[in-house]
Symmetry: C2
Subunit: 378 residues, 2 copies
């Protein structure tokens, strides 16, 4: 491991402290939102939201946040970890279903309005909860914590920035080794291994390496196919650090591209750059999408652009806001989004170019800083 990697490891250890120190202000912002919506308690079941609001990163837990108290229910496997990682909550170890324990606790508080995350809680989880607190009004409050998460605090931005730097560094290293005969799945393994050596916890999602005709599948996995001469290859990768993801796509061509492929690449790159320029505070998300789509339609390529332009990036690799048609959410400083137009032509292949971008006070900062011009590998 080189010097840079050690530095990153050091930085990433620092941000553990940073992260839990942000918990009180996040709980405070949540309580403001709860008061506005007249919720006495919010039951949080999504592990990412529990991490955000308490610092606990176990895969199983239920948090209940009240206007004045906060409790985290965990089973005995997680008691020590919860006590070590969490802030601003009382940890309760329970030896029965967590929802049932949370329900019992709520009953004793004679509470009326309890919010739950209807976009995460399953139908059977809801039935369990309802059996326990028959007298409370359970109110669908999905997206409440996600609304808070839309604007990142500086602890979160630090993590995503580092994850973006690792992602860019790893692809830059791997790009130097590309040649026909390499296996897609071995390249994906190499990418994820190097992320770890650079101090990441791993890959935020399964790395995509899709070559030749497979590059026309926008969500192909890496397969046992070998790279060949004269093929497009899409790499979609992102490191995860302290729970925070980055997301980046680069497309390369092995050999000498045809004029048609060159035009395709130039069109997608122009669309992506114009879309990034459109990213700034108070711009509607739909306008960024429209910008990318309009650039492609100028080349009659918009019908091959079969997905939306981007999505929020943070604890989830896909989160709010969506950069999609007619999406009216306004960007704010602290939003982090992917910008990733692509065109996919059956039989020929696909081109997608993506960066993770932070909305700043005056515009946008690219968090996955890596050239998009060195795409021809001959």
């Amino acid at each position: 491991m080189g010097g840079d990697a050690s530095l990153l490891l050091f930085l990433s250890d620092m941000s553990v402290f940073a992260s839990s120190s942000f918990v009180p202000s996040r709980q405070h912002r949540l309580r403001d939102l709860m008061a506005k919506r007249r919720l006495d308690f919010l039951l949080v079941s999504n592990p990412k939201n529990i991490f955000y609001l308490t610092g606990f990163r176990g895969s199983t837990g239920i948090a209940v946040l009240g206007l004045e108290q906060a409790v985290l229910f965990v089973d005995p496997r997680y008691t020590l970890q919860a006590r070590e990682q969490s802030a601003g909550v009382d940890v309760h170890e329970v030896r029965r279903p967590l929802l049932s324990a949370a329900g019992q606790w709520l009953i004793r508080r004679r509470t009326r309005n309890v919010g739950y995350d209807d976009a995460h809680l399953t139908c059977s989880g809801f039935s369990e909860l309802q059996r326990r607190v028959p007298k409370a009004t359970l109110r669908a409050s999905g997206g409440l914590v996600e609304d808070l998460r839309l604007v990142k605090d500086s602890g979160e931005i630090d993590c995503i920035r580092q994850a973006g730097q690792i992602t860019a560094a790893v692809f830059s290293e791997v790009r130097g080794t590309l040649r026909p005969g390499l296996r897609e799945s071995d390249l994906a393994a190499e990418i994820e291994y190097r992320m770890r050596l650079h101090g990441a916890e791993g890959a935020a999602f399964e790395t995509i390496v899709a070559s030749g005709e497979r590059s026309a599948w926008p969500h192909a996995r890496a397969s046992s196919k070998l790279l060949k001469e004269d093929e497009l290859v899409i790499f979609d990768l992102g490191a995860i650090l302290q729970g925070y993801a980055a997301d980046m796509t680069r497309t390369v061509f092995l050999g000498r591209p045809s004029r048609r492929v060159e035009r395709l690449y130039a069109a997608v790159l122009m669309a992506q750059e114009q879309a990034i320029k459109a990213v700034r505070p108070a711009t509607a998300c739909g306008k960024v999408d429209f910008t990318a789509r309009r650039a492609l339609s100028g080349r009659a390529l918009d019908r091959y652009f079969t997905h939306s332009t981007g999505h929020g990036v943070g604890l989830d690799i896909h989160e709010k806001p969506r950069l999609a048609r007619k999406e009216e959410t306004l960007l704010e400083p602290g939003c982090v989004v992917s910008v990733e137009p692509g065109v996919y032509i059956e039989g020929l292949g696909g081109v997608r170019i993506e960066d993770t971008v932070l909305v700043t006070e005056i515009g946008a900062e690219v968090l996955t800083p890596l050239s998009k011009d060195d795409w021809i590998i001959s």
Copy 2:
């Protein structure tokens, strides 16, 4: 990559064909179950269940299985992939929410009884569906497909056996390199990289490397802590191949263990071996759990055994059946379960030993074949 790895890659490419060829018999078994429960249609939302019943491995889709027809709804990103991978279903490409498209399709069939997976469908997904098919009776049918998945067919067993062999081979290689000064997270990265080189798709779950006091956290992640002399280290790892997982834990000691640590290890090993001996057809899952617990109580260690003895392993790393107290499900040939007693003593550390085990016609076959005697690394 050595010769063995190439062989495994070859085998794993073979099982792609094997897997889709099992789809018709899985759909047939499901239809028998549906007829018994008087369901006209089953709406399947869990991607693992969709893969099991159709062969499609995309992350987003909705399958609707009727007694005579089957449809898979996907968005345009997944159309090509769905057509290539699936069997026994008509692929419908839709450009609006998949649940809404599935609901519309169901209305036209004037159906009465539609099952849905209440353990997977979220409250908000259910509301969406209910809006679309107000006249149908939506029946909570969670666990129906999981019940089928409890007994693996030979295509599935092949995948888990290969995943188990890769898992054992990788740990055996990494064990040879263990010494004080290595970083937990680097070891986890090394393990997952080697899984890929052996032909696995990756890790079935985040590899646990927990040393020293951290080994007393049953679900610790790998951290930036360095291994030290005279520490217990728990490794919990599992490769995934064609979507199927294996699960294995080994504990080692770096240096010369105290008598207390030696007794701890011997007790857990005995409990695990006795529990594996208890695995056979027609045995209740609770009896396997009881066997492990009784062995530990003979050493007054049962109070440190804070989780259940095991769980089903397959498309999910945790699935039916649970090997837990009072669990009455009977094991059948084709069930695959983990057997993993552990003891966790705050301040001292933990010992867990785990294998993935197949229930055969006459007993059990260990699918993660690797010695448990070489645990002292000095």
